[in-house]
Symmetry: C2
Subunit: 309 residues, 2 copies
Amino acid sequence: MGAWPLWRREVMVRTSASFLAEYAERARRRIDAALATYTALGEGCPTLLREAIQYAVLAPGKRLRPMLVLMAAEACGGSSEDALPAACAVEMVHAYSLVHDDLPAMDNDDLRRGQPTCHKRFGEAMAILAGDALLALAFEVVSKHIRPRERAAACCAVLAEAAGPCHLVGGQADDITGGLTQGGIEQLESIHRRKTGAMILASIRLGALVAEASAQQMEMLQKYGERVGLAFQISDDLLDVQGTQAAMGKRVRKDADQGKLTYPGLLGVEQSIERARRLIGEACEAIEPFGSRAEGLLAVAGYVLERNC
Amino acid sequence: MGAWPLWRREVMVRTSASFLAEYAERARRRIDAALATYTALGEGCPTLLREAIQYAVLAPGKRLRPMLVLMAAEACGGSSEDALPAACAVEMVHAYSLVHDDLPAMDNDDLRRGQPTCHKRFGEAMAILAGDALLALAFEVVSKHIRPRERAAACCAVLAEAAGPCHLVGGQADDITGGLTQGGIEQLESIHRRKTGAMILASIRLGALVAEASAQQMEMLQKYGERVGLAFQISDDLLDVQGTQAAMGKRVRKDADQGKLTYPGLLGVEQSIERARRLIGEACEAIEPFGSRAEGLLAVAGYVLERNC
């Protein structure tokens, strides 16, 4: 495990599992309540569109990204209440990206979060529009509900950059044009850094921004976010090989079957696990100075190593 | 022409046509140069995605909405240079909405701005992603390039609301689910107010915001924006009946052929023209207090009545 001694990791994982379960349940309730409020769209929003939006964003999910927003804010001594709008915005962007990625013209998936994908349930046109609406809504929530306003603008900038053509959309564009069918570990990491990592890192940065993190705190959290983002993708690849459709709520063994580059495919299962452990070790080290306030972030780091869905 | 005497309208239209032609050429050059800069995306953005984005947003177009941003800023005594990022953002949102509206699952159009639609040229998946990227990019440009930052947040809020599920996306959702195949003038206006009017109004509001408009100025400009937005749609419907594909750069007689509600269909051609004239008269009256600083806005009002593409 390199720089990080094994006993510390094991203690952490044990304590963090129960802590995280409790934290996650509380946080999910708050996040889902806020998401429900933000998407209870009134005048001007057609009923079917509202239903498609809520279907996509309120479907049972881990809420990992919004939880990271709250946890990063807490680590910096900020209030998770103030960070709630940013947390919801991040989940909206995530949900939009899943809806569009699942479309027939893209990954053509039928199952997501254990239920039919948005276009299977509402048709393709409405799914495209629900995704579009969620993306716009994310910026509406951040720009209207984060205070003071100069902080809201900074949050919009972080969110827009992460969701944009050089990150989230760029990673997906490289993926659908066969970027993962050739090349080596650098190509794999470049795509995942944008497709998955950027929004995880943005979640951390948004929480820090809302809590007025110092430059030093931001630097530590960025290091954590980058490492966790990459480790998360490795565990995703491992689950694609080892997980079950029932636990994941989506099609598994998809990437391997399509001949896509994966960490276990390139490095083997053992080496992939080792790489994830090293990244998580580095992530935990980076936020050590936060002490007990970073308990949530440490717990998530432990979860990324141990997760089975 | 109701409250607006005919001679004033005619004088206005005559002077405004030459003024507008000159203004538009200058403005379009500036807007297109800025759009080219903002979409010259570097590291992380795949080449094909960048090409699709630029194909969509740099295609020859009227640039009506971004021009309205600049003109509203000028009317309030602000600098059009400061308003340029907001102008580009509005055009990006407009371009994104055209790309997604043209998709096979939506309006299934092959021709836009005189060239093959984005999905015809780049494929459906890349067109969806180019639209997504343009929407995110619009918020990146506003949040990063409008100063001071509290103004940037206010602009993000206006843009997000206009682009969101209660306006632009909501209007399109109502349209694709057959909202324009039944009902009367109120239904027609409700859809167009959201689908076309909201972004035209947002353009005006953004220009005013950047120029620090007073509450009174904002109120006058809002009135102008609402009226011009509706009149623009009436003239669009009239052109759908009377225009040519060559001039319009897109399929014509589409709405009428699909049995959709249109102003000429509901009111007849003469009454539709009369209605547009009344709206434009009211729009011009609303901004009279701005005097010569509103010359651009007056010229656009005249253009909406006289346009043939």
